[in-house]
């Protein structure tokens, strides 16, 4: 066990001394906690955590190592990881690197061995607060002063710009854009050699049940790609789609990309979109074009979408006023669905308001009630801001779902427009899969003939 020290310093001066994990250095961010008991890899790769230092309340983290499949984005955007017990040697048939290695490779600074429950209670009582992990160096007066200055200066207003894609791309499911054949073969070579070569970033998911022959994979990728082309070419007509997803079990256990379904074109505004959202939408029969957060109304209209998707993302929704303006226009022309930050942006775009929660909702056990049906859904959540219910008066938006723990707004729809949103994460990953139906609901919304 490495015993190099690390310290977590909070803005209010509270300190927790522990053991350094991952990269050494100083990392500043907003210290939050997540109560999920599984899914640390998905959480670490969720772009919505950009700018945050994540405390895992479950004390044993790293039990099943990390793999090449349970990734929610192209990288790790959080500012640090805090765990009680870091498992050096996990065990899982899909495991590839232990968590320490994963953190190291992704330049994540972390701290282990602290009383995470004490920290969680501290955050619960005093609200989320900024802090820093300092590892691999002594806390000299100079360092302390430097850290304090950086903590004070920290803001979450740049995060969306940081995580959003920089150019328009087509979601070629199931091959995520950052996974290339080259990566895969390198990894394959490394595995064949039985060594642990110098590799950075993520690798193509291993094909299951297809053998490990790169030629087969390449051929399949090609087939998938050509199918995508066909789909786009024949958009609007009913065609057969491929139901294979490279053999990777999607979080949706039933493959919904069934044959003979009409393919709709969706423009997804990327504020930090999670991969499983794309997968779920793809499985609903959407052809998806992902656009950066600063894409103009005209550019989006030119893509001729059938619907608009507003993604999740980090930080303060008010930090991207231009996007809010664009959304305000889009919803008058296209059926729209928003998730998490997308839901908050929708509220802002119609004249509503958002506010920062004391310590946010982060976990996989939040009960949400559908006000129309009375049904309760267990949801996966990750947000620090929420929509102010009173501010919705006159916006045309109606509250459809509320959180049973604190009565905050969890879902909205519009009186006149085919628009709805949820504050939670129906794509789960990690978390309960009870809300996958919402993607189907979105599809139905688009299928429905509309006036005008």
């Amino acid at each position: 066990m490495k015993s190099e020290k690390a310290v977590l310093v909070l803005k209010d001066g509270t300190r927790f001394e522990g053991r350094a994990i991952g990269k050494r250095g100083i990392s500043v961010g907003e210290v939050v906690f997540n109560t999920s008991m599984t899914g640390y890899q998905e959480i670490l790769t969720d772009p919505s955590y950009a700018g945050q230092i994540i405390t895992f309340t479950y004390p044993l983290i790293g039990n099943y190592d990390t793999n090449y499949e349970d990734l929610e984005s192209r990288g790790v955007f959080c500012r640090g990881a805090i765990v009680k017990e870091l498992e050096d040697e996990g065990n899982s048939w899909r495991g590839k690197h232990n968590l320490e290695d994963f953190l190291m490779r992704n330049n994540v600074i972390g701290i282990a061995g602290i009383d995470t429950r004490k920290l969680t209670r501290h955050i619960r009582n005093f609200g989320v607060l900024n802090g820093a992990i300092v590892s691999g160096q002594e806390l000299t007066d100079i360092v302390v002063a430097d850290v304090k200055a950086r903590i004070d200066a920290f803001t979450d207003r740049e995060m969306i710009r940081e995580v959003s894609c920089k150019a328009v791309y087509h979601y070629d499911a199931p091959t995520e854009p950052w996974v290339t054949f080259e990566h895969w073969t390198r990894d394959k070579a490394r595995r064949d050699a039985g060594g642990d070569g110098e590799l950075k970033g993520f690798f193509m998911p291993k094909a299951r049940g297809k053998g490990d022959d790169p030629a087969v994979i390449a051929k399949e990728s090609a087939t998938a790609a050509s199918l995508q082309h066909e789909m786009r070419a024949e958009r609007g007509s009913t065609i057969a789609t491929s139901s294979h997803r490279n053999g990777i079990p999607c979080n949706d256990s039933v493959d919904k990309a069934q044959n003979h379904r009409k393919i709709f074109h969706l423009v997804a505004m990327d504020f930090g979109i999670k991969t499983n959202i794309l997968r779920m939408l793809y499985n609903e029969g959407f052809d998806i074009t992902v656009v950066p957060q600063d894409t103009s109304f005209e550019t989006i209209v030119a893509l001729q979408p059938d619907g608009i998707f507003l993604s999740n993302g980090p930080g303060d929704p008010k930090s991207i006023p231009d996007a809010i303006k664009v959304i305000g226009e889009l919803i008058h022309y296209f059926p729209t669905m928003g998730i998490c930050l997308g839901h908050q942006l929708l509220a802002l775009a119609t004249g509503g308001d958002t506010y920062k929660l004391k310590f946010g909702h982060r976990g996989g056990n939040h009960p949400v009630k559908d006000l129309k049906t009375g049904r309760v859904y267990i949801t996966s959540q990750n947000h620090g801001y929420a929509v102010n219910q009173d501010s919705l008066v006159g916006t045309g938006l109606r509250v459809t779902l509320v959180n049973l723990n604190d009565q905050t707004v969890e879902g909205m729809d519009h009186e006149n427009l085919p628009v709805f949103s949820v504050q939670y994460h129906p794509e789960a990953s990690p978390g309960p899969q009870d809300n996958h139906y919402l993607f189907g609901k979105f599809r139905k919304l688009i299928e429905k003939p509309r006036m005008g």
Binding site: F16, F33, T35, S36, M37, T38, G39, Q41, E42, T57, Y58, P59, L60, N63, Y64, N67, E69, D70, K84, E85, E87, E89, G90, N91, S92, W93, R94, I114, D115, T116, R117, K118, T120, R121, R124, R208, P249, N251, S253, F359, G363, G364, N365, H366, P367, K369, G374, R375, V376, I378, L404, N405, A428, S429, P430, G431, P432, Q433, D434
Partner: protein, 1078 residues
Amino acid sequence: MPKREEIKKVLVIGSGPIVIGQAAEFDYAGAQACLSLREEGVETVLINSNPATIMTDSDIADRIYIEPMTVEVIDQILEREKPQGVLPTLGGQTGLNLGMKLAKEGILAKHGCELLGTPMDTIYKAEDRQAFKNLMQEIGEPIPASVIATNLDEANVLKMEIGLPLIIRPAYTLGGTGGGIATSDAEFAEIVHRGLESSPIHQILVEQYIGGMKEIEFEVMRDSGDNCITICSMENFDPVGIHTGDSVVVAPCQTLTDREYQMMRSASINIIRALGVEGGCNVQFALDTLSFQYYVIEVNPRVSRSSALASKATGYPIARIAAKIAIGMQLDEIPNAITKKTVAAFEPAIDYCVLKIPRFPFDKFPEGDRSLGSQMKATGEVMSIDRTFEGAVKKALRSMDTKPNLDEWLKHDKYWAKATDVRLSLIIAALRRGITVETINADTQIDLWFLRKLRNLVTMEEQLAKLAALKDEEKNLQLEALLKRAKQFGFADHEIVALTDVTDTQLKQLLGTMHCAPTFKMVDTCAGEFEAVTPYFYSTWEDENEAVPSGKQDKAIVIGSGPIRIGQGIEFDYCSVHASLALREMGIESIMINNNPETVSTDFDVSDRLYFEPLELEDVVNVYNNESVGLDDGKKPKFIVQFGGQTSLTVASQLAKAGVIPHAGQVDSIELASNRGRFEKLLMALNIPFPRGHAAKTAAEALIVAEEIGFPVLVRPSFVLGGRAMEIVYSLDHMRELIDYVFSVVPDAPVLVDKYIDGKEAEVDLLFDGSDVLIPGIMEHIERAGIHSGDSMAVYPTQGLTLEQIDKMVDYSMRLAKAVGNIGLTNIQFVLQGGDVFVIEANPRGSRTVPFLSKVTGIPMVKLATQLLYGAKLKDLGYFPGLYPSSGVVAVKAPVFSFAKLTNVRTKLGPEMKSTGEVMGIDRTYPNALRKAFIASGIQIPLEGKVFVTVANRDKEEALSIVRGFAELGYAIVATEGTAHFLSEHEIKAAVVGKISDDPKNSILKQIKNKHIQLVINTPEASKDAESDGPQIRTAAIQYGVPCLTSLDTARALLFSLRARRQGKDLKVRTMAEYLES
């Protein structure tokens, strides 16, 4: 949907006596359910034949029936009570089966009564193999492929389809005898052949083999609005193949990625929806270790042992919520009992690791087959909570209250491989000897993650042990570096002392200078996200202590009784619960320490503060120290130690030794009663007779002592519980045969040799307030001395004792109580021979009979005892000294055994306790009470049929009148040659059966199997050699469910009750309140 207002009255079906597979968890569930229903204004009627339960207490349900749990009885209750609904899902399999029968036989319809919780159709779908298979296929949930075959061709069909390995299970054989796992074609043909042969109906189930996969469980809940939540996931340390009740279980799952976890969570919800369960449901899965392939292996559409564990592990009260759901409420309408601010519609998030280890009865049955499989064998379990897995393992092992002797096991090749009750300890032993985790994983399929965690413990041991050789200063320095981690890994001080060879004082000093102290964290269902109000704590070695004392000055710590085992059962939990409730009533803060997840005492509603901890000295002192903070000078928490059985007495002695509590008073009484020399001296001084006896240090000495006293003698090791290894010895030869074994049970301890007095036994539970003694009642044992009191039938009030005997017992009890000086409860056991009354033992604590006596006398014995401990006087409480007048009812206690669950165990009754539970038969007359007790304990004899008699030579004379009685009632008598010959000499006709070996085709075993025999009366010969067919006959009787009596006294009592039945009176049922009013 809100509560269904039309449901005003509900009958809750309990689970009956404690047997292996159905233990205290259902008392916990049932009690919670009753309280939960009453909270909603629903009048609650309860039936349970088990008097040792909290749920049958007058303040739990409105109307309580302690009656046999049969369809006929419930029919009568429904007739009397006219409830709108029956709730069968909280009474285990017993409750569920009864619910099914009531529905099937039209009894519910007859009374216009509805089955609540889980529809009939659902129970059927979950319980019927084929219906379940069909349903799973319908909803696309995979189950292992299987086929029922009556020949090799039929069996081959599945082999062709899915290939090997396959598992073959013969139909209707006990413990799967004759079956096996086939991995090759040749093996397959052989096992199929063997399996067909061993099945009485020549039928086998051939099933896809999924042994070795991960075993995962989910606890799911659903309400009438179709809202579904999962409460807890659990992962079995032992892979598929071992009953989950016998497995070491961890919560939450440790080795699953979110994809795997959510895949099975979604499947469990899919299943509970398809089944339409309204309430709780347990789903068990097998998960492949190398793919996403899973199989549903079992569904229990009811509250189960796992749900009790899940409730304690998460703080989410499943049974309580399930009861509310059953009357129509939805999850979002029910408040969360822990936070009081949120609602029950959420999934607990936990921030600690929970471990359950089963407790097995093999200390009582050393001869039993200790291998584990699909038949559950454990009687109880312990649970531990910690923030590290290692800490949870250590704490759970320390909670077991027993240390297995591994010496014999370790001699075997690959001793870690076979699944037995001691495998966890053997694996740790193997790791100590350098066996690699990979090897163990290959041999056991136990996940490497678990094995590595165990290895961490061994590594820590090794690191600590290395310090032993160091000089003081260096040792201190190095120990300081390791100590906090060792404590986080759950190492007790005494273990560290032993490993490092520091003194206890040095260690304590070092911990002090390091500011290293235990902290207590709260179980709050939400991982700290919300403020919780429930003071339910566990210890761990971190920074923040959440168990801040309440500020109350008057507080008492109740020491619980730990895991349920034969000899220390649910009765002691009953006492602990009442002690806690009494304290609260007196305005004293009650603090419970216990480690048993099944019981009511570890329900956080029972005490003001609950600490889930091992019951070792260190853990108890840690709680004590924590609770002492902020008390005024001179104030200390008081220890309540007389209700947790032997466990709490042991803790008391240790506390006194450590100087935490004074040695005088309670602790001195304990010593006085258990120190043979002191106790005998006291009895002599009081002129109270007792059987002569001596302690012998060697086998030779024991033989001399026995001869001197004269046979028969009672031989037993000292310092054991529940009559462990106690034997009645009739001759010197018999003594020679046995004595080495008795000495081996507790190495280096003397063996006690006492005169065996062949007489009646009786016992008294008394209350002493420092000057006066109250005897609530005397229980007369139906079987004579020599059968453990826990295994005897007993009756209140006494039926066959003379006034002189009673007077003597009362006199001795009062004088002895005063002399022993134990305030509160004391149990005294007597043996009566003619006019002589001998005291055989006195226990200065609540006993097994306290719940029974409390119920039939109406005296709240534990509550009184607790008040007395705080200085109350019996007279002021309204009780006169002496024997309390009989309440006018007759109540018979009958033991219940779990022999059918264990193989190769000796079933004959003796001084060593073997029963796991008890029932009560209560009525206004003795014959009726006796009849009810027999029925409730499962001994129901048809009006006619055959009685098979084979008795030991010394019993033949005595057996005559009993056998004649059965013959007179019209039963045909069948007997072995010797017995038959003797009977015919005395003009009792008996058909003769030969020795089993003489006539295997038509042996008595076949007759038992074919249900041609309705009752077996078999009194075994004293020595094992003289017994030829006895064990086989008793085993066959148990296997095929034929009542088998091994004591003539029981047979005589049965005869008595059957005679009363002949007189043709129907049994009437009444509530406990009605009985006590009369």
